[in-house]
């Protein structure tokens, strides 16, 4: 790309957004900030498809009988919902949107280490998404997002191969993103920016990237093996050859348990940034928070067998996996304690990003603690494959990860677009999402505990009241998600100018203009203080003008 003068003749600043408006300049951009925007638009699109499937499921579950859709359709709906939400929304959400935008800014670099790979990774993501969509248009997939063999490889009469190819390609997009982050954080930090001065967001994305590069390839080869088995009608998970379907589950969860940490580690990074800013305090126990991210990434690889407790895995195997699962709770607990300690005696401002973060802490704690329930073998035998599991992971993935994504989006929106959204609308929809979420998913804990199985389109009549409650909550949640879409878009045109640092936050990304220029900084910044020096900022009085 050609370099552009910092100020154009019109007197308006040239930013990464307005230096060219040609569609080509977007589709061929190597600028990490523009690629982040491309990702943002794409994952919003996939979120809406996954959301539509969820709406239909919740409608079906209003009544105990299967009346709205056929059983097969319902199976296809929850599969599409899972595939879209997990692989095409949540996994890329914070890393590929916020991480892409922020990591170079936070480390004081002009771009990620490999800009071309970055663009390639977006294209891979889109191609993967197209395959997944093609499987939907062709007639859908009914295996569940977990693709368990031998159903997926032998018996399912749906478009498994298309979906599997889509997820395989999407995996390479993740790998390239992770690789880019790791190399950028290692080699491109600004002078003076030591590891222990890095924002915790960078630490958590570094840990996430480790999972990207070390876990994703195992999923990739597993999907290849499933594809081969399906296409050639003979393969390595086939019991009639002496193959073991449980081997598939081992390989699948070797990636997919760590993948849940791909979703939640970046969220923890966002929370560390927001909590400090809106309590005007440095983080409590920086090193603990930083290293617990790495510990979670590593320990997360040792627990996958807790998804196989009832599968036919050996009982000794299950015991070991159960004990190891309890260990992961330790670093997660460390983080929650450190955030709470950061809040203690802070001057707390309940602005939109902060509301989302407080929601995250509460809901993540519930999700994590119920994780311990299901990691105990005896309890899991009772609740496995029931709505209890659904509630558990939605508390973490929606109550946790999506909340944190919303927090990050609202926190950095002024930086990304240069515009402020309406604070009142922000607070209102944060509240709406919190209420809607709990209304939707808390009843599911009870339903599951009472024995309602997951993945059925009909259920026993005594479960109806709680299911109606859940569906009602889902509609509140739906409105809660639609509002930000509207007022954020509204802010692009009518929002007030944000100025470089509307929240008076520390961090290099706030030291450049909003939106930043293509080269990020006029001049490579030099860092001479720790991250989150809010105590210093409060004492000296902040110089940067606020809105």
């Amino acid at each position: 790309m050609t370099t552009v003068p910092y100020s154009s003749s019109l007197g308006r600043e040239t930013t990464y957004l307005n230096h060219s408006h040609k569609i080509r300049s977007w589709l061929l951009t190597l600028d990490h900030k523009r690629i982040a925007i491309l990702y943002m638009i794409s994952i919003t699109f996939f979120f809406m498809i996954g959301g539509a499937a969820a709406v239909l499921m919740r409608l079906e579950l209003m009544t105990p009988q299967g009346d709205l859709v056929k059983a097969e359709t319902y199976n296809k709906l929850f599969t599409m919902h899972g595939v879209m939400m997990v692989f095409f929304f949540l996994i890329p959400s914070i890393p590929a949107v916020l991480g892409n935008f922020l990591i170079p800014l936070m480390v004081g670099a002009k771009d990620l280490a490999f800009p071309r790979l970055n663009l390639a990774s977006w294209y891979l993501f889109m191609i993967g998404g197209l395959f997944a969509l093609a499987s939907l248009v062709a007639g859908g997939v009914d295996t569940g997002w977990t693709f368990y063999t031998p159903y997926s490889s032998t018996y399912s009469n749906s478009y498994v191969v298309l979906a599997v190819v889509g997820i395989f390609i999407n995996g390479f997009s993740s790998i390239l993103t992770g690789l880019n982050f790791i190399v950028t954080i290692h080699t491109m930090r600004a002078p003076g920016l030591t590891w222990f001065r890095l924002p915790l967001f960078c630490w958590s994305l570094y840990a996430t990237s480790l999972i990207f590069i070390l876990g994703t390839p195992v999923l990739a080869i597993t999907l290849v093996l499933v594809g081969v088995e399906r296409i050639f009608h003979i393969g390595v998970f086939d019991p009639s050859l002496g193959g073991d379907p449980i081997l598939f589950q081992h390989l699948f969860w070797f990636y997919s348990h760590p993948a849940v940490y791909i979703m939640v580690l970046p969220s923890m990074g966002v929370v560390s940034e927001v909590i400090t800013c809106f309590s005007r305090k440095r983080i409590f126990g920086y090193a603990f928070v930083a290293f617990s991210s790495v510990a979670i990434a590593v320990l997360g690889f040792l627990v996958w067998g807790h998804h196989l407790f009832v599968s036919g895995q050996s009982i000794y195997g299950g015991l070991i996996f159960s004990i190891l699962s309890f260990m992961v709770a330790i670093p997660s607990g460390v983080k929650v304690f450190n955030w709470t300690a950061t809040l203690y005696k802070g001057s707390i401002a309940l602005q939109t990003p902060m509301l989302y973060c407080l929601g995250f802490i509460g809901l993540f704690t519930i999700g994590g603690l119920t994780g311990l329930y299901v990691a105990s073998i005896a309890v899991d035998v009772h609740v496995t494959d029931t709505y209890f599991i659904i509630a558990h992971f939605h508390y973490i993935m929606v109550g946790g990860a999506v909340m944190a994504y919303m927090a990050g989006l609202h926190f950095w929106w002024p930086k990304m677009t240069g515009k402020m959204y309406s604070e009142w609308m922000g607070r209102f929809s944060a509240l709406l999402i919190f209420v809607g979420f709990n209304l939707t998913f808390f009843p599911q804990f009870i339903l599951g505990y009472l024995g309602m199985p997951r993945r059925y389109y009909a259920y026993a009549p005594e479960f109806q009241a709680l299911n109606v409650l859940s569906s009602a909550g889902a509609s509140v949640l739906g409105v809660g998600y639609l509002l930000p879409l509207l007022y954020l878009l509204w802010s692009l045109r009518w929002g007030k100018n944000a100025g470089p640092n509307p929240f008076r936050a520390t961090g290099l990304e706030w030291k450049t203009s909003s939106p930043p220029p293509t080269e990020n900084f006029e001049k490579t910044p030099i860092v001479n203080e720790e991250a989150y020096a809010y105590h210093r900022m409060e004492m000296t009085g902040d110089t940067v003008a606020t809105h």
Binding site: H186, L210, L214, V218, P239, S240, G242, D244, P245, I246, L247, H250, F254, F301, L302, W304, G305, L308, G312, Q313, S314, I315, Y316, G317, I320, F321
Partner: protein, 128 residues
Amino acid sequence: MSSQHVISAKLYTVIYILLMVLLVVTVGGDLMFESAMFRTSFALGIAVIKALLVVLFFMHVRYSSRLTWVFAGAAFVWLFILFALTFNDYFTRGTAPERLFEAPVGGIVVRQTPVNPEHEPSSVMQRH
């Protein structure tokens, strides 16, 4: 360039000759030794040596930064995790506590063989 170590063509040649010799040795071992167990370990042992030679010299890890060692090592640590915890399941299949109720003889568990292994596909994996 200052930061990069250049390995001489001579050293490369020595490594190459070593690799070819080791290849001949593997085949020789495979044809010569009697014990199956020994032949397997021998072939794999030589493969490890050959791989180390390639990684250390052809891929110049020997002269690379600590970070390169860490990343090259991490791949194998993770591979170890995958193998160890997977085999932790497979090697203990069918030795589960429920078997203790069957027929303990002098502290040793006597296992029943499935009646018809053809019958239940998954029981195939439980036999040793």
